[in-house]
């Protein structure tokens, strides 16, 4: 009965109630919520990889990216399982902070690749970046070389 009376009150009080390239805006958010506090940085990094949208483009396990028309990286968002070969930890963290606003084209006269790597400066703390870097390095397949 109380609920229906409340309904009446709520009703009375609350009712009614192309090819253009664009510059990315500076970050204004902050990733701070995690489902459970994680002590293991690799696990935390894995969680951030999914939450921050990395997995959307690089694939859920970082092995294969989605299509990115005319991107030099085989017209796909590149995999991230080989980053340990090309970056030192601090270099990778710096790259994630900075992002890559301009993706190199496969064909110079072709269209601008529609997807780019966003900057995470201001979104991730140093500890989170550290965890993400550790997770990405952990993906490197043992004994396997990069394919391109």
């Amino acid at each position: 009965m109380r609920w229906l009376l409340a309904t009446c009150v709520a009703t009375l009080l609350g009712a009614g109630c192309g090819q253009t390239e664009y510059a990315p805006a500076p970050s204004k958010g902050r990733i701070q919520h995690t489902a459970k506090p994680l002590a293991d940085p690799v696990q935390l990094g894995q969680q951030l990889f999914a939450r921050c949208g990395c997995a959307m483009c690089h694939g859920p396990d970082g092995k294969s990216g989605i299509e990115n028309l005319n991107a030099k990286t085989n017209e796909k968002v590149p995999p991230v399982i080989y980053v340990a070969e090309g970056y030192k930890p601090d270099e990778l963290k710096q790259f994630i902070r900075r992002g890559q606003p301009n993706i190199d084209k496969m064909r110079a006269d072709g269209p601008i690749p529609p997807l780019r790597m966003p900057s995470y400066a201001g979104w991730l703390t140093d500890a989170q970046l550290d965890a993400l870097q550790k997770y990405l390095f952990s993906l490197h397949p043992v004994g396997e070389e990069e394919k391109f």
């Binding site: 009965m1 609920w3 229906l4 009376l5 409340a6 309904t7 009446c8 009150v9 709520a10 009703t11 009080l13 609350g14 009712a15 009614g16 109630c17 192309g18 090819q19 253009t20 390239e21 664009y22 510059a23 990315p24 805006a25 500076p26 970050s27 204004k28 958010g29 902050r30 990733i31 701070q32 919520h33 489902a35 999914a50 939450r51 921050c52 949208g53 997995a55 959307m56 483009c57 859920p60 992002g99 606003p101 301009n102 993706i103 269209p111 601008i112 690749p113 529609p114 997807l115 780019r116 790597m117 966003p118 900057s119």
Partner: protein, 157 residues
């Protein structure tokens, strides 16, 4: 008395569901983005009272070109880029005297967004109406179920 209450409930449902359909300025697909956390676009959802709605600066962090195909959608995107602001229409306006904090519900209460917003993450186009009705009845019922205080001043200024 019962007739009065039934009438009141009908009025509430009517006001909730018979609102004119909302038309958004961009054909945004939540489903395309559902793999990443809501906070990436709704920047305040975990840390502030207001979840916030993304402006075009959020979109162009990842999209270098218009992520739409039709001429009308591309024109709408280009217009938005010029103004730097997306005029999103609210699906569920909350009265001025009601205080609702997303931080309290998402970060502290650890509620899933779908609890109040329904399956919006699965939609490929903007919905014309809120997927779940918002009402004080629902708020009170959930608070009771979760053993959260239900005093008036908690939500009403």
């Amino acid at each position: 008395m019962w007739m009065l209450l039934v009438t009141a409930a009908t009025v509430v449902l009517g006001l909730t569901w018979l609102r004119p359909p909302v038309c958004q300025p961009l054909a945004f697909s939540h489903a395309q983005h559902e793999k990443m956390a809501c906070v990436m676009c709704h920047a305040g959802v975990e840390s502030r009272a207001r979840a916030g709605l993304p402006d075009i600066g959020t979109c162009v962090r990842c999209h270098a070109t218009p992520p739409v195909k039709s001429a009308a959608d591309i024109a709408a995107w280009n217009d938005t880029v010029q103004t730097r602001h997306i005029v999103w229409q609210r699906l569920r306006p909350v009265a001025d005297h009601v205080y609702f904090s997303h931080r309290r519900h998402v970060d502290i209460g650890e509620l899933q967004c779908a609890t109040c917003h329904g399956d919006i993450a699965t939609l490929t186009t903007p919905p014309p109406h809120a997927l779940k009705p918002i009402s004080m009845v629902n708020c009170l019922a959930c608070h009771e179920e979760q053993h959260v205080l239900n005093d008036c001043a908690r939500c009403h200024k």
